[in-house]
């Protein structure tokens, strides 16, 4: 549905987006991750046809965003960053305007407005002027605008920004539900959001795609994935670490907490031997007469991967 091929964008000498390619099919929800200034918004602006690309192309369905602008744009619903709205309109008027602009037939506009208002929980404010709305309502009004014509493609730039936790939860659920029948791209820097509603995620940094996969695949790439966290107590706690380092299953051991009578370590497995690691650790601890308080196989977390592979501005 969305096909991005070798997309680049330069602002003067600055390369904002560097040769990005990806596709999103119908029924997929693609999470777009990256640190601030990584090129997420720029990419989305090119996908929606707002910014002309410096190189490469984007097509929505069969329509090229540059050559067949209007056909491509009519398939898209777009929530820009910071949810801009005309401040002198009421929510109802604004949605009517959006529906008319998007070519919803006049007879179906009232129903479309009602549906969007219901979906985005705007009933309480529908006759209120936009400039009296709180940030959460403004955001949801703009979200309502993007879904009013029931588009095949949804591009959402930080859809949960500025929402309270309940609203965030609702919007995530909404994205997941809509994702069953549409092709959705959304950007965020909240990693749990990716796990909650994406079928696939892309991490970009400095304009380049540096990871692409399902949330599970990405988590497995995290350094800690498969590592075992073990806490023991006993008189001979100091002997645990050397003992573990002798095991063939163990790659390295990292100390998390150490005391005279209690030690917590993280044990990283050698490649391919993760399965037997817990048993080996258990055996080693029992041999040394230590009491295991906790033994846990770690899952690998997206935020770890994120920190691992994206360079922060501070280092640069």
């Amino acid at each position: 549905m969305i096909e991005v091929r070798n997309l680049s964008k330069h602002f003067g000498d600055k390369v904002a987006v560097d040769n990005i390619s990806f596709t999103v099919k119908k029924g997929e929800v693609l999470g777009f991750l990256g640190p601030n200034g990584a090129g997420k918004s720029t990419t989305m602006r090119m996908v929606t046809g707002y910014l002309p690309p410096t190189g490469g192309s984007v097509s929505i369905g069969d329509a090229d965003v540059v050559d067949d602008e209007i056909a491509a744009k009519s398939k898209i619903g777009y929530l820009p960053e910071n949810a801009p709205l005309y401040s002198d309109m009421t929510v109802d008027d604004f949605l009517r305007f959006a529906a008319e602009m998007r070519g919803v037939p006049a007879s179906k506009i009232p129903a479309a407005i009602d549906k969007a208002i219901e979906t985005c929980f705007l009933q309480r404010v529908r006759h209120q002027s936009v400039d009296t709305l709180s940030k959460g309502y403004r955001h949801r009004t703009c979200l309502a605008q993007s879904i009013i014509h029931d588009p095949e493609v949804l591009i959402l730039d930080e859809p949960t920004d500025g929402l309270d936790p309940n609203q965030k939860h609702e919007v995530r659920g909404l994205i997941k539900r809509m994702g069953e029948t549409k092709a959705i791209i959304f950007s965020t820097h909240i990693l749990e959001e990716v796990e909650a509603s994406c079928t696939r995620a892309i991490i970009i940094d400095r304009g380049k795609v540096i990871a692409d996969g399902t949330p599970e695949q990405l988590k497995n790439k995290a350094e800690n994935a498969g590592a075992v966290l073990v806490s023991v107590t006993g008189s001979a706690v100091a002997s645990l670490r050397p003992e573990l380092e002798k095991l063939s299953e163990v790659n390295r051991v990292e100390s998390v907490e150490s005391g005279d009578h209690a030690v917590t370590v993280r044990v990283f497995p050698n490649k391919g031997k993760g399965g037997a690691l817990s048993a080996a650790i258990f055996k080693a601890a029992v041999d040394k007469n230590l009491t295991i308080q906790e033994l846990k196989v770690e899952e690998g977390r997206l935020d770890e991967l994120f920190r691992q592979i994206t360079r922060s501005d501070i280092e640069a």
Binding site: G49, P52, I70, S74, Y78, P80, Y86, D88
Partner: protein, 279 residues
């Protein structure tokens, strides 16, 4: 008295309303849905905010005040409106038209709604024309509300109402030229104040470049002067001679073409400015 009213109806009110009706009919049927939607939104936005009312009131106070106090309308003893009324109109609009048009695109950029508008399935010219027409409705309202002066002059004497109508049309077209300039300039900035001030400057320049002392000075320059072609071009773009011809009741085809191409040029410049801003 009854005759005067019938005269006024026949020669002024009816033609004016016919023109207005054609204008509205064109808008409602000939223009694409996208233009109409933008137009409706903008007109509404003008009249919910105080800006349209403020501009209309200021215009009416100044135009009527000057006509009676400085234009010497009553003292002149002549039943015509060019000398006391219309000849000053382009001067007011040098300020009023930019005040009406300054928000057209700068506000859109300040709010960030530009991104929304430009990702909707419409061609840029739809939005440009829709917004321009909305601003021209405000100007149109100003001119319609100047009608009492027509009644006054008809009550006092026996003017040629055809010429008066031509004066209104000339004023309207001149104001539209200024609005088109303002539209292009407001597309370049997100600040309404900058748009206002720069537009006033450009409108003033466009008006002055057609002023006889300036056009004569340029014509008297020796042709070998390297700046002559440029200066000549600038004076040719002056709106004033076309306004004068028109307002005196001489409906020249050339003048109409001039006004329309002037407006078209600056609306096209708006499109270029918007495109440049996006890239």
């Amino acid at each position: 008295m009854v005759d005067a009213i019938i005269q006024l109806l026949l020669h002024f009110a009816i033609p004016a309303l016919v023109v207005a009706a054609i204008f509205i009919a064109l808008l409602m049927f000939a223009l694409p849905r996208e233009v109409r939607t933008v137009f409706k939104r903008e007109v509404k936005s003008y009249f919910v905010s105080p800006i349209a009312y403020v501009c209309v009131v200021i215009f009416l106070v100044i135009s009527n005040g000057i006509t009676f106090w400085f234009g010497g309308m009553l003292e002149s003893g002549e039943a015509e409106l060019y000398r006391p009324f219309f000849q000053y109109m382009p001067w007011y609009f040098i300020v009023i038209a930019p005040a009406v048009g300054m928000r057209l695109w700068s506000e859109e950029q300040r709010l960030g709604t530009m991104e929304l508008l430009m990702t909707m399935p419409l061609a840029p010219w739809h939005a440009i024309v829709g917004k321009f027409l909305a601003a021209s409705v405000v100007v149109f309202a100003m001119l319609v509300l100047s009608f009492p002066i027509v009644m006054v002059v008809n009550y006092l004497g026996d003017p040629d109402n055809g010429v008066i109508l031509a004066g209104f049309v000339a004023t309207f077209l001149t104001a539209l030229c200024y609005l088109a300039i303002t539209s292009a300039i407001s597309a370049l900035t997100r600040s309404q104040i900058v748009a206002l001030l720069v537009s006033i400057g450009v409108c003033l320049a466009v008006w002055l470049s057609g002023l006889p002392p300036i056009t004569d000075a340029v014509d008297n320059l020796p042709r070998w002067n390297p700046f002559w072609p440029l200066l000549k071009l600038v004076t040719t773009l002056g709106v004033l001679p076309h306004f004068n011809e028109f307002a005196k009741g001489v409906l020249g085809f050339r003048d109409i073409v001039f006004f329309l191409s002037f407006i078209a040029f600056f609306l096209f410049a708006t499109a270029i400015a918007i495109r440049a801003k996006r890239a």
